[in-house]
Amino acid sequence: MLLEIKDIHVKYGNIEALHGISFHVNQGEIVALIGANGAGKTTTLHTITRVPPPEGPKVTKGDILYKGKSILPVEAHILVRDYKIALAPEGRHIFGNLTVEENLILATYARKDKAQIKKDYEKVYDLFPKLTERRYQKSETMSGGEQQMLAVGRALMTGSNFIMLDEPSMGLAPLLMYDMFRVLKALNEEGMTILLIEQNAHLALKFAHRAYVLDTGEIVAQGNSVELMNNPDVKKAYLGG
């Protein structure tokens, strides 16, 4: 197991948002988290990234293991620098006052592997040709979909081999959305482990190897994609019958 979440409870202030969830991600897998709005999907990823309060949630019980070691005491930036875990957050959070290129450069802040960084630039620009066109443009002047590509590209530039994506398809036109998933699939085939949040349960289950269904801070169903697609409860609640 690459990542193991064990009975994690978290709070925002005094309100508990996750009531003891457990799941795991194996090396090389694509795992999806699905669930209704407010189910706790984003909270789960923010817990893993160790974003501290007040923005992030506070862990009150449970543990998170990465390669068998607890990452609860690890600081958020160390998690990226040393553990190579990246997050493309919900709502993009790109640095709008910087150019596209500066955003990508900044993601390499903690890296020293110059030759690989160069290859990664080429790869990102190759995967998202739109970003090449917009290279020297201030990123806040890009369209929402283009900003989404930048958010994913930026996560890739951290050189991580485990990447978490919080609704990467948000704001993308259908065609671009399939493009994005094709890109992610290709990355996975090259060895990237992916933990994904996706509103579109159909798409998520088609794309992921396994999935977990979250409902108000608890995991209510899990299994491989085919199992879940045929699970009557999941069908009714998330796949529209």
């Binding site: 007040p54 923005e55 600081e75 930036h77 990226v80 959070h93 640095f95 900044l106 951290t158």
Partner: protein, 309 residues
């Protein structure tokens, strides 16, 4: 007539340099944290005092002295980095003790600004309590050299002051626009949440910002003390406010704004003094700045809520 104009221009450049150096510190911290560090003027004052003690030790005119004598240039060459380092230390302490705990708690920025004001008062009155109300007179380090071309003249000290301000501006501009740490500084003001997700330690970048800003205040303190060699605990107050206003008029958060704003204020002041009695200086200067601000509230280089720094 012409000579007096040119002579005044040099004075304006010199005062503009002081304002710029201090305004850069305000703008750096604001550009990263969106915090108006009202203690900054007093860090300038602390910098002037630090430079006083540093040079006193280097010149051997203090209780502890060096076992050998140093030349004036040598004293200056040592006093500049030492003053900058020690003043930076004071700035970083403020960040650690006063601002960081508040940031951790995620409090409203207003409270941080009030805290900054209080820190400034503590520095002033701490100095007053420790060193007493008597003014300190700064020793002469550099032998005064007057360069005269035709009928107007320039001192080496004035040249040094102006040259320092320009050099500092160029270096800062390069740091902020070209380096990764500069990009990280700009990124923090836009979206603090995403910064650690890039593997960037926010606290380190913030400390770096305070080091830059305070060391510049220290440099300004040293140069000011050399130019106007009388120090008192409240010397940072008015000049600090003026530099802050210069930064705002230039467009706070923008390096170029602080630089241009500082010189603009220097020029306006000298210009007013050339025409009106000196008691009118601040009144008219500030009125002009007020008019500029009411025409362009974001300042000369300011853009509404996009680029900070």
């Amino acid at each position: 007539m012409l000579t007096s104009i040119i002579q005044n221009l040099f004075n304006a450049l010199q005062w503009g340099s002081f304002y710029s150096l201090i305004a850069l510190g305000y703008t750096l911290v604001y550009g990263v944290l969106l915090l108006i560090n009202f203690a900054h003027g007093d860090i300038f004052m602390v910098g002037a005092y630090i430079s006083f003690f540093v040079t006193a030790v280097l010149l051997g005119s203090y209780t502890v002295g060096l076992p050998f004598a140093l030349s004036g240039t040598m004293v200056l060459a040592l006093a500049v980095p030492l003053t900058m380092i020690l003043t930076a230390f004071v700035g970083v302490m403020l960040e650690r003790i006063a601002y960081r705990p508040l940031r951790r708690k995620g409090v409203n920025r207003l409270y941080v600004v009030i805290t900054a004001l209080m820190c400034g008062l503590i520095l002033e009155n701490g100095n007053l309590a420790l060193l007493g109300a008597s003014r300190k007179s700064f020793p002469e380090i550099l032998e005064k050299v007057v360069y005269s071309v035709g009928s107007f003249s320039m001192t080496n000290l004035k040249l040094l002051v102006i040259f320092s301000a320009i050099l500092v501006f160029v270096i800062l501009q390069i740091i902020v626009t070209r380096t990764k740490i500069g990009m990280a500084m700009r990124a923090i003001s836009y979206d603090k949440f995403a910064v650690p997700l890039m593997g960037i330690p926010i606290d380190t970048i913030i400390v770096f910002t305070f080091i830059l800003g305070s060391s510049l205040a220290g440099l300004a303190g040293l140069l000011f003390a050399m130019s106007y060699p009388v120090l008192d605990p409240f010397m940072g107050s008015l000049i600090g406010w003026k530099a802050f206003i210069a930064a705002v008029v230039g467009g706070i958060g923008d390096i170029r704004g602080a630089f241009v704003g500082g010189f603009l204020l220097g020029f306006i002041e000298i210009l007013v003094m050339a025409v009106f009695p000196s008691t009118f200086r601040d009144l008219i200067a500030f009125s002009i700045l007020l008019i500029i601000l009411s025409m362009k509230p974001t300042g000369i280089f300011g853009v509404a809520r996009t680029t900070k720094i």
